[in-house]
């Protein structure tokens, strides 16, 4: 149990850093100077100290929603095998539980978008939920494909298995599944090519549109929640791609190594993400289903092939 809290603490600290790193890498690639890797930290601090402005006629959702978003990301950080694969037996990082926690955060965000009572918030929520509904089959199938070699839907077990037999990772099934999984994670976290996290062009935004009515600590929690989610999912992808370094016991040394490995993997992936985003263009909203359909096919093939070749 304690390890879970270590994990949460580490990733809470890591999330703003990761965002800072990606922004910085991106700025450098684009030839800008950048604001420095600690800028997200400062933003959070600033927002938490401000006085919130809330729309007239809105309800408690506008207050509670952002907190739920943040909490759901924290729970994710606790459940997933990021630093260690030793989870609590009674709260295992079960595939479906993880997805449902992701969903809770997404729903809270969508409700926040609607509660403002403006056209933009509703638009963001609507698009957000549509993308989400389409991502879910892909995500589930991808993890399902990954789970087949181990026969368990517990993600920690999956990571363990990949650590024990690395051949799984580079098998055709594993590659297909990971490709699908990465597309799903991009969509889930609102990155390019599905959504542009830096845009404020009204007609293309999804995530940002839902935040328009939030300010101060509300905005802080929303931002923090989405950063943490990104970090955690990158951590998961990192452990699935390269499980080495992750702690398989509660041994303090192993945990420390695990922490270092996790930080390293997340930051490397973040940098790759930043570079990739510079090279990619956002697809039209109504092209997103095609992207997800492609990812879905990959995942489906992964499952079907893995079932047949056993």
């Amino acid at each position: 149990m304690l390890v879970a809290f270590v994990q949460v603490a580490l990733f809470t600290a890591l999330a703003p850093l990761l965002v800072g790193v990606t922004r910085q890498v991106r700025a450098r690639v684009e030839g800008r100077v950048g604001a420095g890797v600690l800028q997200p930290w400062r933003e959070l601090r600033k927002l938490l100290m401000k006085q919130p402005v809330r729309a007239r006629g809105s309800s408690w959702i506008l207050r509670a929603g952002p907190m739920v978003v943040a909490i759901s990301s924290l729970v994710l950080a606790a459940l997933l095998p990021l630093v260690t694969t030793v989870g609590g037996r009674l709260a295992p990082g079960d595939l479906f539980v993880v997805v449902s926690v992701l969903l809770i955060g997404a729903v809270a965000l969508a409700l926040v978008g609607l509660d403002g009572g403006t056209a933009f918030g509703g638009m963001g929520s609507s698009r957000h939920m549509t993308v989400l509904a389409l991502v879910e089959p892909t995500l589930l199938l991808a993890v399902y494909a990954l789970s087949i070699p181990t026969g368990s839907s517990n993600i920690a077990t999956i990571v363990d298995a990949r650590l024990a037999t690395p051949a799984i990772i580079v098998s055709p099934v594993g590659l297909l599944a990971m490709a699908a999984m990465i597309i799903a994670v991009m969509a889930e976290t609102g990155r390019l090519p599905v959504d542009n996290p830096t845009t404020h062009l009204e007609l293309t935004m999804i995530h940002e549109a839902m935040l328009l009515e939030s300010s101060a600590r509300d905005l802080a929690w929303l931002e923090f929640g989405s950063w943490l989610k990104l970090t955690v999912l990158l951590g998961l992808v990192g452990n699935l791609l390269a499980p080495w370094g992750v702690a398989t016991s509660n041994d303090p040394l192993a945990v420390v190594i695990g922490m270092a490995a996790a930080v390293g993997k997340v930051l490397v992936l973040g940098a790759i993400l930043a570079v990739a985003e510079v090279l990619l263009a956002k697809v039209r909203l109504f092209r997103v289903p095609e992207l997800l359909a492609g990812s879905f096919v990959l995942a489906f093939l992964a499952v079907a092939v893995s079932a047949m070749v056993s």
């Binding site: 949460v8 100290m49 401000k50 919130p52 402005v53 809330r54 729309a55 007239r56 006629g57 809105s58 309800s59 959702i61 943040a70 909490i71 924290l74 729970v75 606790a78 609590g88 037996r89 009674l90 709260a91 079960d94 539980v97 449902s100 969903l103 729903v107 409700l111 609607l114 509660d115 403002g116 009572g117 403006t118 509703g122 929520s125 609507s126 698009r127 939920m129 549509t130 989400l132 509904a133 389409l134 879910e136 089959p137 995500l139 589930l140 199938l141 399902y144 087949i148 026969g151 839907s153 328009l212 009515e213 600590r217 909203l285 289903p289 489906f300 499952v303 079907a304 079932a307 056993s310």
Partner: protein, 672 residues
């Protein structure tokens, strides 16, 4: 006479009392007294069901003129479960009705029909032979039809809905009758124990399976036999639609279980495929229609089709896995089906009753005219929200637990001991997982829409702005329903073990209670303990809450301002996103399935083709199953009805010709 017999007799007595009290002249008194009697009847029904679930045998038997064998009502364990279900729903509905319905829905006829309807539902699972089953089945159909017609003077749509409902009910009845007829003929008796003696692989059993699944599927609202649902549920009084959706469609599920669990536990694997296809299709189609629907009750009705689809899908998975010898996953799938049944009953009754309260308070079912009800009707909003969690299968609701078990059974169904078992299963399971996942995603969207548009933001009409909270009793019923959703979601262990006890016992236990009343599927090695998750979340949440409180302590004031709304000075409520606009991306993405009718009408200014005065855009989504499958058939029949009049054209010579031809034919045939 066992305890079950006495309890059933008592139920009959209270049903009679409720029917008698329904004839009282004063509306208020009749509502309260008859509703109370119906509630007590249902409460006794709970006792009957619990007794039967625990294996107490016995029941009632009475002889009728035709047929010669007496009618028997003796619930088994499975039946007991469904009796409990129907009775709990009946209890909530009766109390809600007594407290809230007025006017036409509280007429003598309506109150008379309610005990008939409820009693019919509570007796369907108790029936132990085909004739009794069909008898109470029709009583249920009759009672619900009468109730559906309660508001007939208010809208012409009620009559149309009643016709659809009555005809589809009859279709369902005739299929079931045919199925039982085929089975009885093969078995030589109508008793269920005799029917189950028919070999599952024999032609009568196969034919009966198809007929019964069609019949029960129609009652359950499976696509393409669902067309009555989105018509009948919205037009019925809300407590009736709640009972129809939460309990009555479950009788269709009970029927399917009767076939695949009680009669023919070892059915061939194509039964499973059939059920998977029916269930999966219904789930996706139902939730798609729900996601694009703006009418709150239509949305709930289609969502029922979705949930029923998932239940049937789970049953189908169980049948398929059983046929391929994957028993652990098969058991889990059956458990998932039962969990979904219970869960859907609880959250759907709450949703419909909450929708009824909204309708009562605002006179509106159209989400596009609602909004801001969360502040005006906080209790209703809370209950609806919690129940919506269940419908969207999110933690910590009952819906989540059941869908979790379902997905576990599916992902573990492909392999036994690390080896793939069969190609069919290996292909079917990923597709089914994807279908379930897509359904779950769209369900989340649908209920975010329903709750977000209906209860959040600002009112979109004067009616919504003037809404008021419901009476105390109604609130209590809603809270009870919502509490049920949460309770089953938090501590699913005892429920799951109780549910498994109604199934025929197998070697290894399907489910155990684990940890803090969580569920453990020992055959699959999967554990879910919601309470632990909640504790973990609470601990993590405490950090966020502390930080928030610190921030709030430092900056206590809140500034109320107009919504920013893209820089506009004052964003009007009518500028808000509506349910229709919310669903627009879904309509676009699933254009091929939904086939919306779009109409763009451009009025040009003056002579120029380039200057546009006005553009009118309209888009409507219809049920394509209805418009493509039923409409053509109905049109053909209707045209035939006109053409065929010619055979009776009034000419006596023509009539004589009929007789003459008949004489000649009979003469020739008789002498051949």
């Amino acid at each position: 006479m066992t305890a079950v017999s006495w309890a059933m007799l008592l139920q009959f007595a209270f049903a009679g009392l409720a029917a008698a009290l329904a004839l009282l002249p004063a509306e208020r008194i009749r509502s309260v007294l008859s509703g109370a009697a119906s509630a007590v009847m249902s409460a006794v029904g709970v006792v009957t069901g619990v007794l039967a679930m625990n294996g107490v045998t016995g029941g009632l038997q009475f002889a009728v003129a035709v047929p010669a064998v007496p009618l028997t009502f003796a619930p088994d364990r499975l039946g007991g479960l469904f009796i409990v279900l129907a009775s709990v729903i009946g209890l909530l509905v009766a109390v809600y009705g007594a407290a809230s319905v007025r006017g036409a829905s509280a007429s003598r006829t309506a109150w008379f029909a309610l005990p008939l309807f409820l009693m019919g539902m509570q007796l369907v699972p108790a029936a132990a032979d085909a004739v009794s089953f069909l008898l109470v089945w029709e009583a249920m159909a009759l009672g619900s039809t009468v109730l559906l017609l309660a508001e007939h003077a208010g809208s012409s749509r009620v009559s149309s809905a009643a016709v659809w409902y009555a005809v589809m009910s009859q279709l369902s009845f005739l299929f079931i009758l045919a199925g039982f007829g085929v089975l009885s003929a093969a078995a030589g008796g109508t008793d269920f124990s005799a029917l189950s003696a028919v070999a599952p692989a024999s032609p009568p059993a196969l034919l009966a399976f198809v007929l019964l699944v069609l019949g029960f599927g129609s009652k359950a609202g499976l696509v393409p036999l669902h067309v009555w649902l989105p018509r009948a549920h919205p037009e019925a009084p809300s407590h009736v639609s709640a009972a129809m959706s939460a309990a009555m469609v479950k009788m269709g599920i009970y029927g399917i279980l009767l076939v695949v669990v009680r009669f023919f536990p070892g059915g061939p694997d194509w039964w499973g495929i059939v059920l998977l296809v029916l269930g999966g299709g219904s789930a996706v189609y139902g939730i798609l229609q729900a996601s694009v629907s703006s009418d709150l009750k239509v949305l709930l009705a289609y969502s029922t089709t979705e949930n029923v689809g998932l239940i049937v899908l789970a049953i189908g998975a169980s049948v398929l896995l059983t046929a391929h010898g994957i028993t652990a996953a098969a058991g889990a799938a059956m458990l998932a089906a039962l969990l979904l049944v219970v869960s859907h009953a609880v959250f759907k009754v709450t949703l419909f009753l909450a929708a009824g309260s909204v309708l009562h308070a605002t006179g509106e079912r159209n989400l596009d005219h609602l909004g801001g009800l969360g502040r005006r009707m906080p209790w209703t909003a809370a209950a609806f929200g919690i129940a919506a969690l269940g419908a969207a299968a999110l933690p910590i609701s009952s819906g989540f637990v059941s869908e979790w078990v379902l997905l576990q059974s599916l992902v573990h169904g492909t392999r036994v001991g690390g080896a793939a078992v069969s190609v069919i299963v290996s292909i079917a399971m990923p597709i089914v997982v994807a279908v379930v996942a897509l359904t779950a995603g769209l369900a989340v969207l649908t209920f975010v829409k329903a709750y977000g548009i209906g209860f959040l933001a600002r009112p979109r009409s004067a009616a919504a702005a003037g809404a008021h909270e419901s009476s105390r009793v109604v609130r209590a019923v809603l809270i009870a329903g919502a509490a049920g959703v949460v309770l089953l979601g938090l501590v699913p262990g005892p429920l799951a073990t109780a549910l498994v006890s109604v199934l025929p016992a197998s070697g290894t236990p399907i489910v155990e209670s684990a940890g803090l009343l969580g569920v453990n599927l020992p055959g699959l090695g999967a554990v879910l303990d919601p309470l632990v998750l909640v504790i973990l979340t609470a601990v993590l949440a405490s950090f966020v809450i502390i930080a928030t409180l610190r921030s709030a302590w430092r900056n206590p004031q809140r500034i109320d301002a107009f919504a920013w709304g893209g820089g506009g000075e004052r964003a009007q409520p009518r500028m808000q996103y509506t349910a229709t606009s919310f669903a627009e991306p879904v309509v676009r993405v699933f254009d091929d399935v939904l086939q919306p009718a779009r109409d763009v009408e451009v009025t040009h200014a003056g002579e120029s083709r380039y200057l546009v005065n006005r553009v009118r855009f309209s888009q409507s989504v219809t049920d394509i199953v209805e418009s493509r499958l039923y409409r053509p058939v109905l049109t053909v029949i209707d045209r035939f009805g006109v053409v065929v009049r010619r055979i009776q054209n009034g000419s006596i010579h023509l009539y004589l010709l009929y007789s003459f031809a008949a004489v000649i034919v009979v003469l020739v045939v008789a002498t051949l």
